[in-house]
């Protein structure tokens, strides 16, 4: 049975650990600001030569949406890795804490951190380019929250690999999220990609959500079918992600959690 007090305590602990030191400043503010500067100017430059005046809005709002995936993914996988790195996995799981509670806590933490990043991103976009992303309306929030599932799923798969292979696989934490970026149509429509890449794209739920956003900004309508496909795929992958993480963690537990703490 899941104990909400334990989840709350873990969230509080992670929150306190996250917001200290310079690392947080770079992760939460430096890189999103860097992306916004680079892609904002790229979008304005691209829009100058095209007939699509909404291009900068599409790119920048997609970038803010991307924070929902990137942060939730990073929070799940990085938190698991940092417990391994600080040799805390055994300490943590000799307590009554279950892996389900730990997973819930990091997922919620990822969601909250995504909102912080997105708020910062939207403010930066507004100040730098005069584009007010909340004006897109409540659908933006729906897409943002829907993308949490993709981020959690990537994070859980990465954590599964970490639970199997230990800290050797740490590079995956930073690589896995970005692996999907070329395929999901954040910065350009997927139609310009070769057919094989489009086939890959349609297997990734994020593609549908970014496409819905693109269509909504360009023609002010929601494509419910795309949204539906996105939800179904997200949900299927998410269930597989949760099951695989719990399976690989329990397998490691049977073999001895101490092996995860060997650097």
């Amino acid at each position: 049975m899941v104990n909400f007090n334990r989840i709350r305590a873990l969230i509080k602990r992670n929150f306190l650990l996250t917001f200290r030191g310079i690392d947080t400043l770079t992760d939460f503010f430096y890189w999103p600001l860097f992306d916004i500067l680079v892609w904002g100017f790229t979008g304005s430059w691209m829009a100058r030569g095209t007939s699509n005046p909404d291009l900068a809005v599409i790119i920048l709002s997609s970038l803010v949406l991307w924070q929902a995936v990137y942060r939730t993914n990073l929070d799940v996988s990085y938190n698991f890795f940092s417990e391994m790195w600080s040799r805390n996995v055994i300490n943590l799981f000799v307590t009554p804490l279950t892996i389900q509670e730990w997973t819930c806590a990091t997922m919620i933490m990822g969601g909250l951190n995504s909102f912080i990043c997105a708020l910062f991103g939207m403010t930066a976009v507004w100040l730098l380019y005069g584009i007010f992303i909340p004006a897109i309306g409540p659908w933006f929030l729906v897409l943002f929250v829907s993308l949490f599932f993709s981020g959690w799923t990537i994070g859980l798969f990465t954590a599964s690999v970490l639970a199997s292979y230990g800290g050797q696989a740490q590079k995956l934490i930073w690589v896995m999220g970005w692996l999907f970026v070329p395929f999901v149509g954040i910065f350009y429509p997927i139609e310009i990609m070769p057919l094989w890449a489009q086939t890959v794209a349609y297997c990734v739920p994020m593609t549908y959500f970014f496409k819905v956003l693109r269509i909504f900004i360009e023609s002010n309508r929601i494509d419910f079918w795309l949204l539906f496909y996105g939800f179904i795929l997200s949900f299927v992958y998410f269930i597989i992600g949760v099951v695989s993480f719990i399976y690989f963690f329990n397998r490691s537990k049977q073999r001895g959690l101490a092996r995860l703490e060997d650097a």
């Binding site: 680079v38 590079k171 692996l179 070329p182 350009y188």
Partner: protein, 262 residues
């Protein structure tokens, strides 16, 4: 100054780097991602009416950016690794001088950049059917000032690492990217607000990338931009190398052990 010692040290850094799976992933994954994303952006631009060479411009620009970043990272990360491995005292209790050590970073950065260009040429041919080196030996003119800029930025980062210690390790991953939004790597400088354009005039890469764009699109060298780019890059390199030497001398007087404290 004994160049053999620098070459040996560079060889040691390269061997240490290319036998670790994390570093191989770093070397392959990020340039590959850059080429695919920016090649895609170039395709989108070309389809929306801009010149067809935009794809080449985008890909060559991100590869050149990686040349700068690798020359920066090799230098700065080498110093951080030595600090973290508490190896600074061991290293400088040998006859090795600080300038020989700096040269080793420059050499290992140069070798990594060269390997990157070969890898990027293969990737862009495979994914976009673009042969990077078809632009000719003229491209080499743009590589050198980017390498020098990377070394200058790395030397500045090493100064900061000596000043603030291992706590400032994030700087190694952050400093290289700091000037990129002002360098016009991905877009033409004119699109930016005037205050950013003023900042970008002090950044050597902005002149180099501007000249590179002109070279690919109009097939001519912008000698003015190149002269400014080379001049500024060399100026920063001399200043930061001098600062690096002064800072190291100060650390040596204070005791090199202070650099190894975590």
């Amino acid at each position: 100054m004994n160049i053999t010692r620098s070459i040996l040290l560079a060889k040691r850094y390269l061997l240490a780097r290319f036998f670790k799976i994390e570093d191989i992933i770093d070397f392959i994954f990020w340039p590959l991602l850059d080429i695919i994303i920016w090649g895609g952006v170039g395709l989108a631009l070309a389809k929306s009416g801009q010149p067809a060479q935009q794809v080449t411009v985008s890909i060559v620009s991100v590869v050149m950016l990686r040349v700068y970043l690798y020359s920066f990272f090799n230098n700065a990360a080498n110093f951080l690794y030595e600090m973290m491995a508490r190896n600074i005292i061991n290293l400088f209790s040998t006859p090795l001088s600080f300038n020989e050590w700096l040269l080793s970073g420059i050499l290992s950065g140069f070798a990594t950049s060269l390997a990157l260009v070969v890898f990027a040429t293969g990737v862009s041919k495979l994914f976009f059917n673009i042969y990077l080196l078809s632009a000719g030996p003229g491209l080499a003119v743009f590589v050198l000032p980017l390498l020098i800029s990377g070394w200058a930025m790395a030397h500045l980062t090493i100064v900061l690492l000596m000043l603030f210690g291992v706590h400032a390790q994030r700087l190694v991953f952050v400093m290289g990217w700091l000037l990129i939004p002002f360098s016009g790597v991905y877009y033409s400088l004119e699109i930016m607000p005037s205050w950013i354009q003023i900042v970008s005039r002090a950044v050597p890469m902005s002149y180099i990338f501007s000249a590179l764009r002109i070279f690919i699109l109009n097939d001519r060298f912008s000698w003015n931009d190149l002269a400014y780019g080379y001049g500024l890059a060399l100026f920063y390199f001399i200043i930061t190398t001098f600062a690096c030497n002064r800072m190291f001398e100060r650390s040596r007087q204070l005791g090199l052990a202070s650099l190894e404290r975590s």
